[in-house]
């Protein structure tokens, strides 16, 4: 997922360094990944680990010296759980047009009235693009313009975060019940935008009508994959697979890692991504799915609307099928709906099927609308279940 952020950021003129802030333990897998992308995009990348989850602004504040080293004119902040065609260059130009000194730009996009309630909603003054009001996940309708979780800040942002930090420290001293860590947690949206910047004349919104989506659930990954492949089709068609003599049949946008082995009688697509070292057997059909690194799909399998995890195996004539939860294509600006895992009756809502890593699925079964946790070896068919 983050590869796309890095790629977009590395193409902004004047980009010096990319910092990743997270609370994951630094591990080999991350290091290898960073080394590879540094090579690929020729840009400095550093990972900064939070000692605990600090919230977006809390993390920024904690590492403010790192961020400000080299005295940048401005810096981007991107949430990791979003995807899209990030128009960072255009955003920067917009930001620069708004003058110098302390000012901040957020990326906004359109949503439906109903769906806007699940996002941060932005009200602006039309001709100046100044944000006059901002609210997180309102209960009633406020605006169809929503925040994409992508921001461009002047260094002065830290004054506002510092202010919020001080306020938190004071509040906490009267509140003995509070968890100690919460005093360092600062939410960019609530503590900075809502309480300080909205209506201050310093916050602007830049609109994009390009593809954008949150990826909070695995279901959204297939939707996001489709859009990334569509973008590739336009910007990097050489990355997508083409039909060729003696090779598997390709329908629509399909990405196959060069190291994957695909039998010529297989049929893939549309919207399929095949990862590194994956093996796809004879007569396999894959549609609207992701097959991750080192997975093995045996003969005659049918994989629809599913994610097959790393190093998993699917036996012959088995069917792995999920139910897509794509946004309604007939509604303009509809975003992917992320339903709760369970409905009101306590039953699993049908969604895409996800096989975790190192999962073994036997031959001739069906796994329908299910989530299979890593390292499971199934012995039969499953429908609408979470397999622990």
């Amino acid at each position: 997922m983050i590869h796309h952020h890095i790629e977009a950021a590395s193409q902004v003129p004047g980009m010096k360094e990319i910092l990743l802030i997270g609370s994951y333990q630094h591990n080999d897998q991350l290091s290898r990944f960073f080394a590879a992308v540094q090579q690929e995009f020729k840009i400095l990348i550093r990972y900064l680990q939070e000692y605990t989850a600090l919230g977006t602004a809390g993390g920024m504040y904690h590492f403010r010296d790192q961020i400000l080293s080299g005295s940048p004119e401005a810096f981007f902040v991107m949430n990791c759980d979003v995807c899209g065609e990030f128009p960072l260059k255009e955003m920067l130009e917009f930001h620069q047009q708004k003058g110098t000194g302390a000012h901040f730009t957020m990326l906004g996009t359109e949503a439906t009235r109903q769906q806007s309630l699940n996002y941060g909603c932005i009200v602006e003054t039309k001709h100046t693009s100044e944000v006059t009001h901002y609210v997180e996940k309102p209960e009633t309708f406020v605006s169809t313009t929503i925040s994409c979780g992508i921001y461009l800040f002047s260094p002065e942002i830290f004054q506002f975060i510092g202010h919020a930090f001080q306020k938190k420290q004071e509040e906490i001293s009267f509140d003995v019940d509070s968890n100690l860590h919460t005093k360092d947690t600062i939410h960019l949206e609530q503590d900075i935008f809502v309480e300080q910047l909205a209506g201050s004349g310093l916050l602007y919104v830049y609109h994009t009508s390009k593809f954008w989506s949150q990826i909070k659930s695995a279901g959204a990954a297939i939707y996001a994959n489709r859009h990334y492949l569509k973008i590739y089709n336009r910007t990097h068609p050489e990355r997508l697979s083409q039909n060729a003599e003696g090779k598997a049949t390709i329908i629509g946008d399909v990405y196959i890692h060069p190291s994957a082995t695909i039998h010529p009688s297989a049929v893939l697509g549309p919207n399929v991504t095949i990862g590194k070292n994956v093996v796809i057997g004879p007569g396999v059909r894959v549609r609207e799915s992701l097959v991750l690194e080192d997975a093995l799909i045996q003969d005659h399998c049918c994989i629809l609307h599913s994610i097959v995890g790393w190093n998993s195996t699917v036996g012959q004539w088995t069917r792995i099928e999920g139910t897509p939860n794509d946004p309604n294509p007939n509604k303009p600006f509809a975003k992917v709906d992320i339903p709760d895992l369970f409905n009101a009756d306590g039953r699993l809502n049908p969604s895409i099927t996800v096989l975790g890593s190192n999962v073994q699925i036997p031959a001739e079964v069906i796994v329908l609308n299910s989530i299979v946790l890593p390292h499971k070896e199934l012995g039969r068919s499953y429908k609408n279940q979470i397999i622990l």
Binding site: G283, R285, D299, H300, C302, W317
Partner: protein, 360 residues
Amino acid sequence: MKALILVGGFGTRLRPLTLSRPKPLVEFGNKPMLLHQVEALAKAGVKHIVLAVSYRAEMLEQEMKVEADRLGITISVSHEKEPLGTAGPLALAKDILLEDNDPFFVLNSDIICDFPFEDMIAFHKNHGREGTIVVTKVEEPSKYGVVVYGADTGRINSFVEKPQEYVSNKINAGMYIFSSGILNRIQLKPTSIEKEIFPVMADTDNLYAMELKGFWMDVGQPKDFLTGMCLYLTSLRQKSPEKLYQGPGVVGNALVHPSVKIGENCRLGPNVTIGPDVVIEDGVCIKRSTILSKTVIKSHSWLDSCIIGWRCNVGKWTRMENVTVLGEDVVVKDELYINGGRILPHKEIKESVPDPQIIM
């Protein structure tokens, strides 16, 4: 000798297949269900078979005429104006049955087994009374009406409907041989032979039970049709294994018509019957299913416990299971999943049927 086969009504339990063809003509083991009985009767020396039918049955009459000529016997249809139950049709066909003094057979039409007609004649002549019932052993007698009889003589004492406590594990197998005297007990009106005639005959020591050896199944509904097919193929394996398919990719017993075209890397069986002119494309797996004539099963599909009607077209990467029955000329699009669907004739299925249901 003569025989009367109780064909009865529309075969609603075997819909959607019986919406296209009368039930006796639905192929079981690549042969119309009724023909299994007719051929066995002819082999036992029966010269005239009466089909007791309660609906207009031109198709049945025409097709059976051809078989009658081939076998050198007479088949006539006795048409009931109103359903006469299981005994009434005997009264309706009285004139034919009384043409000679020989005992005659009466059969329910949905029965599949190794028909023991010659043994029945011998058994019946041996005890010399009015009637003989064939009985078969079942595992769960509480679901059926059971027959209580003397183990050494075969003389029937009583019938017990759905016994709560174990009294016997033998049930009426729906095959009888009667002396002509029975016709004096039956009037031309709706009557049940099991409930109204047999108990009276048993009370006067006129009814004997003969135990069936080998398999038996009432194949009047899809689930039992498939179970019966498994038993039938197992029996074929023992009696005439040369009739079973020996080609590549076969697993266990499979009965495949010589005109069937089979692609590469298929797996057929166990317990599969494939009718004339069926096309099975590459990489198809079929288990425990019957495919009727002129159907096409496209590549990489997987079928288990299905009955696929005539002239169907099943798409690629389709998965069908759990007693799915397709009527005549059904088209199933590619990559669908059908679980226990009953699909009416001439339907085109474009979406999966994930839960058992009837698609009108």
